[in-house]
């Protein structure tokens, strides 16, 4: 711990002088919120920063609140955004005057998975699930977060690949989508692992398949019988849809290179902590650390992918 403290000033000439706000562009209990709280705890417990870190929930207007908040905080180095695919999608679907290139990229810290879940009383396999959905008199209800966003896009592609019809119900957060599935108010959702973890462990929902080209690597048992690695990929189950979502940190625009460097170093240290590693495994995230040119290149490519998906799903506002 002392070593960490000593090494900090040597790398970064600048340090925050007031509490740092970590801005969450989603509702309470969602994946972004949980991740922000993990980082807050990792930073405090390991003394990575002298100033405290506070989580600031700005999930209003489907996360647009957080984006505009960051945009209007130009030059303020005490705010970091924990961003996800909404930075590409929201400007397309709702014509929000926002461009991630106006913010200062710090680092990509994880990639998040999407899993198709149903109620534990529902069908056990993707095939049975699709058949049941096709046979149902009224379309299956698919819960998700927000409208015309990643969950909604996945639902549209699920419809295209399987021919089944779904009614997509946009909730305010992944946590809400999870409890609504447990209460049988929806038949399925495409939550991130972290959003459904607790209800999966409680035996209330069942993971059907993961939207990635390979299985999740974590083999430790999560429930009594299953680990993350036991969930088949959707491709294995005959539904070839792949989607991964970035989790990345951004500062507002027009901060100094020293300030940027401080946070690059800070989040690099966060990825070295036990808290981060535990969290990655528990929530079945893919660890990754990209910064500088690599990050910008990744963002440009990811932006193009998301734009293509949104266009194909017909969610781009004219």
């Amino acid at each position: 711990m002392a070593a960490l403290l000593l090494s900090a000033p040597a790398v970064a000439g600048w340090e925050p002088t007031k509490p740092v706000e970590i801005v969450v562009a989603a509702g309470a209990g969602g994946a972004s919120d949980q991740m922000a709280r993990m980082m807050q705890a990792a930073i405090q417990k390991n003394n990575l920063m002298k100033q405290p870190m506070v989580v600031s929930l700005k999930g209003g207007a489907s996360g647009a609140e957080a984006l505009m908040y960051m945009k209007s905080s130009e030059g303020d180095p005490n705010k970091v955004l924990i961003a996800y695919s909404l930075i590409y999608m929201l400007p397309l679907s709702a014509k929000i005057p926002f461009n991630w290139r106006e913010l200062t990229p710090v680092s990509v810290i994880a990639l998040d998975q999407f899993v198709l879940w149903d109620n534990s009383a529902g069908p056990k396999k993707v095939k049975e699930f699709v058949e049941a959905a096709k046979a149902a008199s009224s379309p299956f209800k698919m819960g998700g977060t927000g409208s015309k966003r990643e969950d909604h896009v996945l639902t549209v592609f699920l419809e295209q690949k399987t021919g089944a019809k779904f009614s997509y119900l946009p909730y305010k957060s992944g946590g809400e989508a999870a409890t609504q599935l447990v209460g049988n108010h929806t038949e399925s959702n495409v939550n991130n692992p972290s959003e459904n973890l607790e209800v999966w462990r409680a035996g209330q929902v069942r993971p059907l398949c993961v939207f990635d080209k390979e299985r999740i690597s974590y083999t430790a048992k999560v429930t009594d019988t299953q680990s993350w690695a036991d969930i088949p990929t959707c491709k294995e189950e005959g539904v070839d849809i792949q989607y991964l979502m970035l989790r990345a940190m951004f500062l507002p625009g027009k901060v100094t290179p020293e300030q940027q460097a401080f946070y690059v170093e800070l989040f690099h240290k966060v990825t070295q902590t036990a808290e981060y590693r535990e969290y990655m495994e528990k929530q079945a995230l893919k660890p990754i650390f990209l910064t500088g040119k690599d990050m910008v290149q990744f963002l440009e490519e990811d932006d193009a992918t998301n734009k293509a998906l949104m266009t194909e799903a017909g969610f781009v506002a004219k």
């Binding site: 509490p19 509702g27 309470a28 209990g29 919120d33 405290p52 506070v54 989580v55 600031s56 929930l57 209003g60 207007a61 489907s62 647009a64 609140e65 505009m68 908040y69 945009k71 209007s72 905080s73 679907s93 709702a94 014509k95 929000i96 005057p97 009224s138 209800k141 927000g146 409208s147 015309k148 966003r149 909604h152 009614s167 997509y168 119900l169 946009p170 909730y171 305010k172 957060s173 946590g175 809400e176 409890t179 609504q180 447990v182 209460g183 049988n184 108010h185 929806t186 969610f315 506002a317």
Partner: protein, 505 residues
Amino acid sequence: MEAFGLLLHGFAVLLTWKTLVLMVVGLVLGIFVGVLPGLGGPNGVAILLPLTFTMDPTSAIVMLSCIYWGALFGGAITSILFNIPGEAWSVATTFDGYPMAQQGRAAEALTAAFTSSFIGSLVAVLLITFLAPMISSFALKFGPPEFFAVYLLTFCSFVGLGREAKHKTVISMSLGLLLAGVGMDTVSGQLRMTFGSAELLRGINFLVAVIGLFGISEILLTMEERLALRGHAASISLRVVLSVWKDLPKYWVTLLRSSFIGCWLGITPGGAIAASFMGYNLAKRFAKDPASFGKGRIEGVFAPETAAHASGTSALLPMLALGIPGSGTAAILLGGLMVWGLNPGPLLFVEHKDFVWGLIASMYLGNVVGLVLVLTTVPIFASILRVPFAAVAPMIVVSCAIGAYAIQNAMFDIWLMLGFGVVGYVFKKIGIPLAPFTLALVLGNRAEDAFRLSMIGSGGDLKVFWSNGLVGSITTLAILLLFWPVIDGLLARVGWTRRTSATSR
């Protein structure tokens, strides 16, 4: 006794020096805003809310709810000493409290007010303690139709049971609903009524609106009315306190009745104001010598204060368990909960046990600490009223502006707050109630989302609101309440006809 164990756990969460200090600070601030005419519970809580954003949720809610208890206590001080109700729900306390002060029995009246406040809250907290765990087991039965039914119930009961003219309540509520629509629409993912402005993207923050509607408008009104403050000196000796307490058992019927009225009105959105009047009126109606009320009768202090506190406290139960605020202040606390990342609703009791039981434990502790605090600090608070209004008003305006700015760090919100101040002033002048407006602003979006999700799920079939016993009975109750004045009128006519026919025979 699951509740009892959880409650003990709550006390354990609470009993740290930091929390206790916050509690005392909150109570003192609360008494302060309660004593100041024109400020008061909802405004005090709204203005001080951003201060708590950096705290953990438990500390924050403890402090805010203590401001709330403090305001409830403080409201009685000015009513009795100066005949100025610091709070709307203390109006009924002035009827007998002020005459008592004039007869030199101020200490007695104050003790009676504080003690009955304490009893009212205690009864309500007991109710919360034992009902809350039952409510949380409802958790998973709530889907979009159920949520919408509950919101509908709230809106309808405001219209049907409110004391204001129905059309004015509806006007106020509709305006609130309209403004709630500004910003991003979650269901379609589109922007509405933002007119290309980035400032309006966030929607209209209801806290900004509340600070303007209540705080600024009240200052405007007070300026206009040139409120003169004149009062009686008061101090409380232990002897008086004990003699009032000794007589307490004599009034158990009044206390019990008022507690019951308070709890009932607190849980249904009638609010503390209605409860205090109802408590007073019923005590008067059932008294052997109703004529002695209004001339300095101690029961006339017991009755409204008990009811006001019981309803003020029990208003927190529907807020926590269903996400539906029973009073204006509860509505602001609800906003606070969401800011701190807690989703009020049935699952709050499952997912955030520490928080919920910490809060409930703080109701017990806060009330005990509050009682001691008010009994010892009356002379100090009474002296606030000797500060000229000209000096207090600017401070209030500045604190309102800071509060509005701090919510989203936006200068635009200060202009919005001032705009709402004018709206509030006009509304008060033409007698349009502000509470339905605020309620619609808080719940409008959720109600709309719940309705539209229900419609997506059912394929546009309205029968979904009667699809099971739970949602069906809530919806039916909502509609009954909406037309309650009509139904009540019909019942009264039937009763009236029966009575006249009986007498004519």
